[in-house]
């Protein structure tokens, strides 16, 4: 198999709090091949966003490795990181705070080009900005408007154009559609997928919306309290969930199918446990209907089917 574009090995990010260490991301490993999308799902506070930021080094990892084309970028100096940033960008969740309100749309999109110095000539930069706006479906007349004059969907397009400005290969999408209306969500998702086809982009797609993740992902990773509980190709995951948490999560998807109205729902009870200094065993155990004594042992990811991994004591490799 070819070298993956992005790979993490045992990536950990702990935050120091007065009460102890908060395990935001705990021992996460994944691989993304060029042109693929890895969807990361989980409930609020499970470390999805922290994972995305740690991969881009917006947060410094506590332990582990992030490999870009086989090289560990966590050891890179600031200058080397600048080159890496040309290939790795990010789209943010809130289109209302992710754009600098003082800059016009064209300056926002031109900013990464100016900072990275990929283009020097003013005319070239302007040309590139117009090109990016067209690619992202922004009419040219918005070039000198300011973020507050645009609606959420258009702002998110601006955010996308900014991310694409340096022609990256990999984009971390941190809940890029969760702040948008459903009709606009579809437009942005389709735009992301079109761009993936035409430019061969890879995404790390963070979301809590299962329908969205099914639409866009190649592989899906389910996280719970900083740990990966299940990792599988999209269709495999939606058909054969191995982990009780994933099952509960997927059964929560609303359906419009009347014949399945009376189906069994595994609504979860209880709250997410405290992520500060958690016990070594399975972190889902306190809420798990199948929890047993063996769940107090640390759970490793085990292969349950080709390419399908789950971290549960019930799963036999």
């Amino acid at each position: 198999m070819a070298v993956p574009l992005i790979e993490t090995r045992h990536l950990k990010k702990y935050f120091k709090t007065p009460a102890g260490l908060l395990h935001a991301v705990d021992d996460v490993s994944f691989k993304i091949q060029p042109g693929e999308t890895l969807g990361v799902v989980g409930e609020s506070g499970c470390g999805k966003s922290t994972l995305g930021r740690t991969v881009l080094r917006l947060l410094e990892a506590t332990e582990g490795e992030v490999l870009y084309k086989g090289e560990n970028i966590l050891r890179y100096s600031k200058r080397d990181m600048k080159k890496v940033h040309l290939n790795m960008q990010m789209i943010f969740q809130d289109p209302f705070t992710s754009l600098n309100p003082r800059l016009s749309i064209s300056s926002i999109i031109a900013e990464p080009i100016k900072v990275c110095g990929t283009l020097k000539d003013k005319g070239d930069i302007q040309k590139k900005v117009h090109e990016l706006m067209e690619v992202c479906g922004l009419p040219e007349r918005y070039v000198n408007t300011y973020p507050h004059e645009l609606d959420g969907g258009r702002r998110q397009r601006v955010g996308l154009a900014r991310a694409l400005a340096v022609d990256p290969e990999f984009i971390v999408c941190d809940e890029p559609v969760s702040a948008l209306d459903v009709s606009v969500q579809a437009q942005i998702l389709n735009l992301l997928m079109d761009l993936q086809d035409s430019k061969g982009l890879s995404y790390l797609f963070i979301t809590h919306d299962l329908c969205v993740v099914r639409h866009i992902s190649t592989n899906i990773m389910v996280m719970y309290m900083g740990k990966v509980v299940e990792y599988a190709p999209k269709d495999e995951l939606f058909q054969h969930q191995a982990h009780p948490y994933t099952k509960a999560l997927l059964s929560a998807i609303p359906t419009t199918d009347l014949s399945r109205r009376g189906r069994e729902r595994r609504a979860l009870t209880g709250e997410v446990a405290n992520p500060i200094d958690p016990a070594p065993g399975c972190r889902f155990a306190p809420r798990c209907p199948y929890a047993a004594e063996r769940c107090k042992q640390p759970q490793e990811l085990k292969q349950v089917a080709p390419g399908h991994y789950a971290a549960c004591a019930m799963c036999q490799p």
């Binding site: 960008q89 992710s98 754009l99 600098n100 003082r102 900072v115 300011y146 900014r162």
Partner: protein, 294 residues
């Protein structure tokens, strides 16, 4: 109809960022009035030697003391018969220009210190802020006296002394407005493409936190002009017979009851200067913010 819709876009697209700021500033009548007033005062002060000889400032003429404003002495004369108009015009050199100079210096240094403290946080913040707190704990007047005692007297020393006493205020205001901005997503987006900290602070954070800082700068000017006067009264920096608005005000205050113009005129000058700067500050704050209507 179509043409009408298109035209505003066209007028806007031709402008640079500062062109836009000027465009918005010009629409604010009060701000423009303030700007003209300030420019007029500065021009009158700078061109003073052309129409009043400096001689008039110090020449005493006891016979004509306490002359009310008339054709010969536009602003009247004081207790020594010195022409008040000449004293006001030459006094502005110190009051207005030193006032603006102090505000400018403390503004720039305060932005740099407060910017670094607010943005980096942690140890940098602690070191800078404890240092600034130290200066804040000493009354401005005492601090200025200490600086003047260390460096010697003179207008330039006074400038340094007053600037140092104003820096803590700016540092505090800048720091607090930056701390609310540094965790915004657009700052992260800037970090994401490897933007340097200096550029993030200058381009992304400071412009967004300028509002309260500009207001505080305009308010500081009046205070500085009065501080120059009180320091002059204590014999530090500017002392009689060198004219200066605050000094004129304080040396004439005992005669205000029978010759109110002696207090009124320098007072009005200080008030006008502060007001002009206030209007300019308000206009600038709005003009720098693209969210205000064009």
């Amino acid at each position: 109809m179509r043409k009408k819709k298109k035209s505003p876009v066209k007028t806007v697209s031709g402008r640079s960022v500062w062109g836009m700021v000027w465009f918005r500033f010009r629409k604010n009548k009060l701000a423009m009035a303030g700007l003209f007033l300030l420019l007029f005062m500065m021009a009158a002060i700078l061109a003073a030697p052309l129409y009043v000889p400096y001689d008039q400032v110090v020449k005493q003429n006891i016979v004509e003391k306490f002359t009310a404003p008339c054709a010969q002495h536009w602003f009247g004369t004081d207790q020594f018969g010195r022409d008040l108009f000449a004293r006001i015009v030459y006094g502005g050199r110190i009051s207005l220009f030193m006032g603006l100079g102090v505000v400018a210096i403390s503004f720039v240094v305060g932005c740099a210190l407060g910017g670094a403290a607010g943005y980096f946080g942690g140890r940098v913040d602690s070191v800078i802020m404890r240092f600034v707190d130290m200066f804040m704990a000493i009354p401005a007047m005492l601090l200025s006296m200490a600086v003047v005692a260390a460096l010697g007297t003179g207008v330039d020393k006074l400038l340094v002394a007053l600037s140092i006493s104003q820096i803590p205020r700016f540092t505090r205001v800048v720091r607090s407005s930056i701390m609310t901005l540094r965790s915004q997503e657009f700052v992260e987006a800037a970090k994401c493409c490897g933007t340097s900290s200096a550029r993030i602070i200058m381009k992304h954070i400071l412009p967004n936190g300028m509002g309260p800082v500009i207001v505080s700068a305009t308010l500081t000017l009046g205070q500085v002009i009065l501080s120059i006067a009180s320091l002059g009264f204590l014999g530090i920096g500017v002392s009689s017979p060198t004219p200066e608005w605050g000094t004129i005000l304080s040396e004439n205050k005992i005669h205000i009851r029978y010759h109110p113009y002696l207090g009124l005129i320098p007072g009005v000058c200080i008030a006008l200067a502060v007001m002009a700067v206030n209007f300019i500050g308000d206009g600038l704050r709005d003009a720098l913010d693209p969210r205000t209507k064009n």
